[in-house]
Amino acid sequence: MTLFIMSWLSQHTLTLITFLPLAGAVAIAFLRRDAVPAIRRLTLATSLLTLLLAVQAFLDFSLDHPGMQFEENYSWIASPPIHYHVGLDGLSLLLILLTAFLTPLAVLASWESISSRVKEFHLFLLALETGLIGVFVSLDLFLFFIFWESMLIPMYFLIGVWGHERRVYAALKFILYTMAGSALMLVGILYLYSVTSTFDLPVILGALPSKWRSLPGSAEDLLFWAFFLAFAIKVPMFPFHTWLPDAHVEAPTAGSVILAGVLLKMGTYGMLRFCLPLFPHAAREFAPLVSVFAVIGILYGSLVAMVQPDMKKLVAYSSVAHLGFVVLGIFAFNMSGIEGAIYQMCNHGVSTGALFILVGMLYDRRHTRLIKEFGGIASQLPVYSTFFMIVALSSLGLPMLNGFVGEFLIILGTFRARAVIAAVAALGVVLAAVYLLWMYQRVFFGEMTNEKNRSLEDCTAREKIILVALVLVILLMGVYPQPFLRRMDSTVTRVIRQVEPSTLALKLPAGRAGRCR
């Protein structure tokens, strides 16, 4: 019997990882409202167990296998044919690991700061984790869309109920922006279905190239934009970024961590998973345009971050810049660009998540995030300021820390594809140093001008655990990126072969690379 259960579990690893948090949420629903410690512990235990399973999947992941691993495929709805089809490749593996890593930290970060409606908070947090992991593992477009949309509801409540002053506005803006984008994606999905009669991504990928001939010439371009807009809003790319600062500033710390750490990656994930492989010609055609907007995002995000009086808003705008780098890397269509982009997705998740947690810790103590309220607190909070320094340096891409690897690869890749744009984007690296270090200087150095800061207390044991975990990962990813990069090799090769056959396989007849209409 045990053997049977073990083998069942090993065959359904992904389903287990995806739905374990939801099971935890259901269990919490049955707990008493005032059993606060039990609720927190159960949430933490569930999310840690999920992390454990994700790490196990990371270790079990085979390096040579080019396709999907841990695949599960069952029929769910017969007509229209919709399958519960999930699988893991190098891209989704890292993202579910990131999700599973950040969720327990988010739970720990809200251990003391969330004191009202604790039950619902943790319920939504766990439901959100299931939604996010589901997005990354779905291989059926319908299933993907279900997860993509349903993850909005817990996030909406997290911002709207536990957020700060303008929470209702921020929550509505967040949900409306995202839904506007995904509405068009739904039409795109339906159109793909009407062309190929399936929602199964691998099948569509196989069938689509032979169908373009029979479709109107603009079909691929329109489909590309229908998908791309949904993802661009999620990333968010300039000029669709305006929901992000509002959502970040108003969300509770845990919400910001998940929002910046994982949610934004749904957009870049979608570009890699759908836009490039499904619509390679359109992707190539519009790559210069997309790159220009990515660079605008980098510069604009950095410059606006520089002048923010609010630390959380500064971090939020820095996300716009960082994600601009990711998009740039993706649309370079070469090995280092895309690998750098995927790596940077994880880096940004860890570093920006850490920055939000750090700002949240300060907010818990002083109930303000304004830079001018602080100054000279380094002597008061030595441990805290050390951690803040490491994380800030990781975020601005100091060598030996994780951010460097990703940004370096992206700029290298972009340079090969579009040298001028790479040169401009490199300015963003300098600007990142400016806004982060300047903020650091104003908050931590100098004389302590505000008397209220004299009574600040340094990190508690719980906070140290969170920060040590984050810094360890930052160092590991900075010093030893190989295990991560190697796991995405075959996936990235596949994506590049799909979008730009010419760079990889020069042996193929030249005609295949051109626009075959």
Binding site: W76, I77, A78, S79, P80, F142, F145, I146, E149, S150, L152, I153, Y156, F157, G160, V161, R167, V168, A171, L172, I175, L176, M179, A180, A183, L184, L186, V187, L190, Y191, Y193, S194
Partner: protein, 485 residues
């Protein structure tokens, strides 16, 4: 003859119980009128049992005026569910407002009989009679709070505009009969041959009938009565009005536009296309501005009629095999979520329906978390978020539309459904995200209403997660007689 009678057994049972309730009414003491309600509910359940038990092969009855097939089976089942849930939701409402009388229950049953005949008939005269039966019953129901000015206003408006609409419909039938010598939709196919050269009068007839039905399903520009009537009528009646008669009128519309009359020209398609576009946009934009939850739901009902019309447009321009089932599914899903929402609003409004502003719901989630959670489910389903029936309904309709190459209309529809998220979430915002003491009724939810709510919530998730189990019912392949082209 026996088969003929068996084919209309559910309707006969409903009508029989309606008469029985009326006969027993004088003998039941005033305090115990709810007993009559339970009797009516028993009648509805019996009709449902009869419907499921009789398994006759699809066919015609009474000289081709009634057709029983999976199409009529589906709609009869839908009306029976709607009637049962509305009855469950009205017992305590009527007691609370001191208007518990036997007529109410009898009229509910008669309205249901009318709707069943609308969906099952293939003869335009028979459809008209069904329309009249259900309309007359619902006019009275809308004005059932005789001492309430808004209820009277509601009944009067509904009556005047409703009669106007049925007159249009009847005028259309007269044209059809004058032109072809038959009022049977199935025979039209032969009489109008060759369909390619349909005379102008056939188009006039089509437009007239479309206008009549457009009033009933409240599509733009014939929707003006809807908010006032929905707001003024007793809330359980509104629950019925916004689902049952609407679905019945859509059933007739589907039959008319798919008959030889509709397929004879592109006119039917463009009528449906244009009114779908207008109805969605107008309904959603107007709903944005509402502060009263009943009015908001009324405009949302208009918007949903627009989505259904998208499905009908797909049915008209395609072969009907994808559009029609999507319309049927949508109407079922919509009925469940809208009924649930209105019944809950009826409860929350308190005695005399005092608290029907969205603001009145402020802070409800902290006093009645269960009730707030239920209302949230209804709102999210109406907004079309995944794992609910509302999502799959929209998905199914949009899929049919894209398949019929109506990409432009689909884009308009999805953008509209994004707009709708805003006003549905306004209710959630009030309940969960604003602080304050709620003015809505915080009384315990009476158990018949609990049953009704539980049934609609289970239905919403069941249809949303396992639409497959349900789609076989809406599989219209054996309803071949419907598609006469």
């Amino acid at each position: 003859m026996t088969t003929d009678l068996l084919r209309i057994l559910p309707e006969t049972i409903l009508a029989g119980f309606a008469v029985l309730v009326m006969v027993l009414e004088p003998f039941v003491p005033t305090a115990r009128k709810t007993l009559l309600g339970w009797l009516a509910l028993f009648g509805v359940v019996a009709a449902g049992g009869a419907l499921v038990q009789i398994s006759l092969p699809p066919g015609l009855a009474f000289g081709g005026s009634v057709q029983s097939d999976s199409f009529s089976f589906y709609f009869t089942l839908l009306f029976i569910v709607v009637a049962a849930l509305s009855l469950l939701g009205s017992f305590d409402y009527l007691e609370r407002d001191n208007i518990s009388r036997g007529e109410f229950y009898a009229l509910m049953l008669m309205a249901t009989v009318g709707m069943c005949f609308m969906a099952a008939s293939t003869d335009l005269m028979m459809i008209f009679i069904g329309l009249e039966i259900s309309s007359l019953a619902t006019y009275v129901l809308a004005g059932f709070k005789r001492h309430d000015a808004r209820s009277n206003e509601s009944a009067l408006k509904y009556f005047l505009l409703g009669s106007f609409a049925t007159a249009f419909f009847l005028y259309g039938i007269a044209f059809v009969y004058g032109l072809t010598g038959t009022s049977n939709l199935l025979d039209l196919g032969q009489r109008l041959a060759p369909p390619a050269q349909a005379p102008t009068l056939a188009r006039v007839a089509l437009v007239l009938m479309f206008v009549g039905l457009a009033f009933k399903v409240s599509t733009v520009p014939f929707q003006v009565w809807t908010p006032d009537v929905y707001q003024g009528a007793p809330a359980p009646v509104t629950a019925l009005l916004s689902t049952g008669p609407k679905a019945a009128a859509f059933a007739v519309l589907l039959r008319v536009v798919l008959s030889a009359l509709g397929s004879s020209s592109g006119l039917a398609f463009w009528l449906v296309w244009v009114s779908a576009a207008l109805t969605m946009c107008m309904g959603n934009l107007a709903a944005l501005a509402q502060s009263n939850i009943k009015r908001m739901l009324a405009y949302s009902a208009i918007a949903h009629a627009g989505y259904v019309l998208v499905g009908i447009a797909a049915a008209v321009s395609g072969d009907g095999m994808e559009g029609s089932p999507s319309v049927l599914y949508y109407l079922g899903a919509y009925a469940l979520m809208n009924l649930g929402a209105f019944l809950l609003v009826a409860h929350l409004a308190g005695t005399g329906e005092r608290a029907t502003e969205i603001e009145d719901l402020t802070g409800l989630a902290y006093e009645r978390p269960g009730v707030a959670a239920c209302l949230t489910v209804f709102m999210l389903s109406l907004a079309g978020l995944p794992t609910t029936a509302g999502f799959f309904g929209k998905f199914y309709v949009f899929r049919a539309a894209v398949h019929a190459h109506l990409v432009g209309l689909t884009v308009l529809a999805v953008l509209n459904s994004v707009v709708s998220v805003y006003y549905y979430l306004a209710v959630v915002v009030a309940m969960y995200m604003r602080e304050g003491k709620t003015r809505a009724s915080t009384l315990k939810v009476p158990w018949p209403l609990r049953v009704a709510l539980a049934a609609s919530i289970i239905g919403i998730f069941y249809l949303g997660l396992f639409p497959n189990h349900f789609l076989f019912v809406t599989n219209l392949r054996d309803a071949a007689l419907l598609f006469t082209r």
